[in-house]
Symmetry: C2
Subunit: 443 residues, 2 copies
């Protein structure tokens, strides 16, 4: 049995922690008019998150060499360790927009800073949507002006903001937890978006994580914990490494992937530093949970996905090997299509493993399926040889909407985990776009 959690899950998301408010509006960022992709429901497309006091801040960003203007702007600001507000839009990624893109991203933060009466350099900015189109700044600035007076800490506003950042997502993605540090109650809440172009490989330093390649996913986390900014960045590094950087929908890394966390200290706990062992461990555990829940929600809402699959590699020569092996399986087009067909085609899994950069010895590989959370492993292969388990028995497991795949390389102690989904016709149908309506085509 897992140990009882050191935190409890609560309602709410980015306004669960004290001192945070949010609001969202529709300001027609796609400039739609009458196209088929038009936002008839006027879904909100711009959100603001605000902390009533300055917060320590940390960020993780795409390691794509083609990174969007907001990424360029934010990375420098979180590196300084402080922020007080975030502005986010959907509908336009502000990527591949050159110098104008950076000016526009800065203008967004300037507008928010002026309206809130805070230093614009403490305002962060994120965008998601079509690549290669400059921002409709008149609409954006009107949206910001309209959003600021609506800031509120109610859960309704948080839900609305979680919807405002959606692009191809079919549902908002939110989570919040609380736990105690000493006598103080600390809360961490978050929201994220992402469904396609999902294989984040984020870093806080610009150095690409060894095992990671590629999404647009945006994640926003708020907490009222008091924590030093350098410690917060390290906690975020750890949290993202075991969550957002372990998911893949389609193997495509985005130009815009970003996770931001603001910690405003209003919980009144003793400030967490690298030296606060017990408190740090509790905070890390809670942050890990929040990021993992959010990351898994992205995979479960993957474009066209019908299955949620956890790929666990055990006994690799190194941890990097284990992660590379898990990633190769999770990204294999033939593996993913077979899962869509509920087909336990482990030959394709071996094919993906064999083609990966992970060292392996075919004759040493064990391969097993399991239902989620179950300790019962059903072995398809032992030492590279098919077991007596029948095709029908394996089919029964793979027919579930969720299952786990365990690969034992039996070469060392390296482990790797990836959360992924199947590849369906709907993914293709969705992403082929509609050339009669350029605005319908997501980045």
């Amino acid at each position: 049995m897992p140990k009882p959690s050191p935190f409890s899950v609560i309602d709410g998301s980015i306004t669960a922690a004290q001192g945070f408010s949010t609001s969202s509006v529709f300001c027609d960022i796609k400039k739609l008019g009458t196209g088929k992709g038009s936002n008839k429901g006027k879904k909100h497309d711009l959100a603001v998150i605000y902390s009533e006091v300055p917060a320590t801040a940390a960020g993780m960003y795409t390691t794509s060499q083609v990174c969007a203007a907001p990424v360029k702007v934010c990375a420098g600001r979180t590196a300084k360790g402080w922020a007080q507000a975030i502005v986010v839009n959907s509908g336009n990624a502000n990527a591949c927009t050159g110098r104008q893109g950076v000016k526009d991203a800065e203008a967004m933060t300037n507008a928010v800073g002026a309206a809130l009466g805070v230093d614009p350099l403490t305002v962060l900015v994120c965008s998601t949507g079509r690549i290669g189109v400059t921002m409709p700044m008149a609409n954006v600035l009107k949206g910001i002006a309209a959003a600021i007076p609506l800031l509120a800490s109610g859960v309704e506003n948080a839900h609305a903001s979680a919807q405002a950042i959606m692009t191809s997502d079919t549902r908002p993605k939110e989570v919040a937890v609380q736990f105690k540090l000493g006598a103080k109650v600390v809360r961490i809440g978050g929201m994220c978006k992402g469904a396609g172009m999902i294989q984040p490989g984020m870093s806080g330093t610009g150095a690409r994580p060894a095992a990671a390649l590629h999404a647009t996913m945006l994640g926003f986390i708020t907490t009222d914990a008091a924590i030093q900014s350098a410690t917060l960045q390290k906690c975020l590094d750890h949290a993202v490494a075991q969550s957002f950087n372990c998911i893949t929908v389609d193997g495509d890394m985005s130009t815009n992937d970003t996770v931001l966390v603001l910690a405003n200290g209003l919980a009144g706990n003793k400030t967490i530093t690298d030296l606060s062992r017990a408190d740090l461990a509790k905070f890390q555990a809670a942050l890990n949970y929040v990021t993992l829940q959010l990351a898994q929600k992205i995979v479960r809402d993957g474009e066209g996905a019908t299955k949620f699959v956890t790929v666990r590699v055990h006994g690799a020569k190194t941890a990097a090997d284990g992660q590379a092996a898990a990633r190769a399986v999770a990204n294999g087009a033939l593996v993913k299509t077979s899962w869509f067909g509920c087909d336990p085609n482990w030959g394709r899994i071996l094919g993906a493993l064999g083609a990966s950069s992970c060292t392996l010895v075919e004759e040493k590989i064990d391969l097993a399926y399991a239902l989620p959370g179950s300790k019962k492993l059903t072995y398809a292969l032992r030492r590279g040889q098919p077991t007596s388990v029948t095709f029908a028995q394996l089919c029964k497991i793979v027919a579930n909407p969720e299952f786990e795949l365990h690969v034992f390389l039996n070469l060392g102690r390296g482990e790797g985990t990836m959360y992924t989904c199947d590849l369906s016709e709907e993914y293709v149908d969705f992403n082929k776009g509609d050339v009669t309506d350029p605005t319908s085509l997501g980045g």
Copy 2:
């Protein structure tokens, strides 16, 4: 205008060169019975290729760490430089079949050797089909016994063999050329199969080509040229590097990828060695053509493919960078689905480039589209910025069943080329398989 070819294209394929014969039979390698995937038309599933005299031989094999039994058997034999016959089956890949698989592959060569009266060690073997199922040796051996007496050099037999090796292919793939070396007429002919699990990364030495990752594709080339075996292997290395190793359908490298060439010397030309400059150049040019034609036929017949796209990267820092960039674009799920939708979504192309291992500077990138063979480039991007070319103009090019994409990185002299196709719903539908009929599920 391209220079006139130093060779001419002729009818026929693997029996175009003197002294080669082939035959094929149906021997029910899938052991079908009544399943939906049953081979109702009794499509041939076993072929033999035979040279009436011993031939120099060369081979290129998958660099997957999980390689099929026939690959293990063949690699050692072509390394010795001589062969006289090849036996090939479809319906079963003889991969992930352990020690029994190797014994079965050897037994196939022994049966052919005995029936033909040649040393079994000069018989090569290839398999393609489902992974993880041991070979139905009774059927296979009956098939071999039936095929040998049918060996003939007519073009009908060659066509039938080209069909016998097909799995998910919708059509046979054959080509032949002839040219003169001195007064002697030399012929090279070939056939191949492959439609899915296509991204070969083959090597003659086991060292994975730097830029290559991953297919099942099988290619068989016969020539009556007299050429030393070491020289033949080098020629094949060059030819595969610019053909089979530059294609991708789905980014999946197979456990079975193999290209074999037999050269029996019956043309009577002066034996080609590393020192025979002019003759070597002519032979290489013809072999390059044969392999490129065959490789492109695989992409054109890619599972569910509706488009043939040539991705050319120019001005990369290094050749490896250029190839990595071309490969990243050619394998991008979002890029491929956009092509299926006839959508010139160059933002996704930049996304794929940015996530690749290729060094690039966004502000230096030019990106252009062209119709096949046309010198007219239509630029979507110059120096990282959208041009005034309209979306509709780009749509017109991408709506063609074939087009070229040119990426200019403007950083150096590295070049890279990949031949690829789009990703359609039909690919997914085909590969999701049918779990009610395991035999329908290709490897």
